[in-house]
Symmetry: C2
Subunit: 223 residues, 2 copies
DNA sequence: GTCAAAAATCACAGATTTGTGATAAAGTAA
DNA sequence: TTACTTTATCACAAATCTGTGATTTTTGAC
């Protein structure tokens, strides 16, 4: 299910958007301030952000920049003013689109659909936290400036982990997705070895990315 | 360079759009009717279509549907009327966005940028001609119903060919992209071998996809 | 702390991949 | 046609990849 982070301080608008989005089948995390939005971003890892430019504790633009630095999550601006300038500034920051209030809910929903349709099919997700730089599409990875080459399995594993960053991937799920079904709990060991190899290539003492949850599975942390 | 197909019957608007787009670095094919647009589409294979809904010889919607059936080329509608209904109809047909006349050229250019940014980075291109089915993102290929497994190099090669389908890829370009630079004309032979292996997996007497241009390079035909 | 289960690490070998060399086939120009 | 160049094909070996086994380290419950 697609998760949307909604940041809008107008109580009423926030609520009605929430309702409409949920009705459409999205999972919604709603924030009323930049601070809250930041927190929710990190815990929820939304697929798309719906962002009011004017929030009580800061401009939406700043939050947008912050997000875009970390990962290429689509951002759609909600703006009260229909100024060309505003829209252009949004685009400069990498926003995908904008709607001016008041807007038609139907149109907004279509815009979301279009963007998410693209995103879903977009595997060129690039991540960068200053040390590690991952381009899933190109299968290119840089750690601390050095180009790193991954084997096919390592790449598949990395993709699986990063695409589900922040959430625990149980052994059964991971094995299932890595080796087409049937594997199940058979060779948890093979998985461990590949995790090990991946860690060897990506991590260093100061930069850990793959964490193990005892008895459960693995999880990507960071970004 | 990104090619844009512009279909707009208003002489003046067509011309100024042409100018602005070219100035931005796009290559533009301009049409004044649906008929012309259709012809240009087939000869030029544009990356994006800028489409007026009202053309003298037919509705833009129809042309949009026709295009979308063949391939997933992004379409951006130009509409005189700012009616919710119009926009929704466009979206239903798979349009990426729309602008209502009169519009800000700057905004239009940003919208184009956003869409093309997505497209460029979109590797989940699936092709299917009944015999061969390719999902570049998933690295899955089926030929005549049978799942085919490709090695990493084969996959890279296929991707390169298919993403530039219809156009000749010279040896130097292909070698350059397959083996990071420097290779140049050195091992044209290695390329030939990999082409051969790919052909062995994908083709059969009745289904040929990779054609050679004597002394020049290779080219993907089909789709 | 002790202990057992889980995870990490390392070396190894079978399997796969991939460029090279040799040879055959096909294309081009005279 | 003939001579010559380019491309295709096949077999082989070096390099790489990848799961298994053996061993050590870590974890969590008692």
């Amino acid at each position: 299910m697609q998760k949307i982070l909604l940041a809008e301080d107008d109580q009423e608008l926030n609520q009605s958007l929430c309702y409409a989005l949920k009705r459409e089948g999205y999972s919604v995390a709603s924030a009323f301030s930049v601070k809250e939005a930041r927190r929710l971003y990190q815990s929820e890892h939304p697929h798309l952000i719906l962002l009011d430019v004017n929030l009580p504790d800061g401009e939406g633009y700043e939050f947008c920049r912050w997000v875009k630095e970390k990962a290429d999550i689509p951002v759609l601006f909600l703006t009260a003013r229909d100024l060309e300038e505003d829209a252009l500034r949004g685009y400069e920051l990498g926003a995908e689109d904008y709607v001016t209030k008041p807007f038609s809910m139907k149109i907004l929903l279509r815009k979301l659909e279009v963007i998410l349709r693209h995103m879903k099919s977009e595997s060129r997700l690039t991540f960068d936290d200053g040390y590690l730089r991952i381009d899933l599409d190109q299968a290119k990875v840089q750690a601390g400036g050095n180009e790193i080459s991954l084997t096919p399995t390592e790449h598949r594993l990395l993709k699986e982990l990063v695409q589900n960053r922040g959430q625990l991937l149980t052994y059964s799920i991971l094995l299932d997705r890595m080796w087409d079904a049937g594997a199940q709990f058979m060779d948890k060991h093979a998985l461990a070895v590949n995790i090990n190899r991946l860690r060897g290539k990506l991590e260093d003492p100061d930069h850990k990315y793959i964490s193990n949850v005892y008895g459960m599975g693995y999880q990507w942390i960071g970004f």
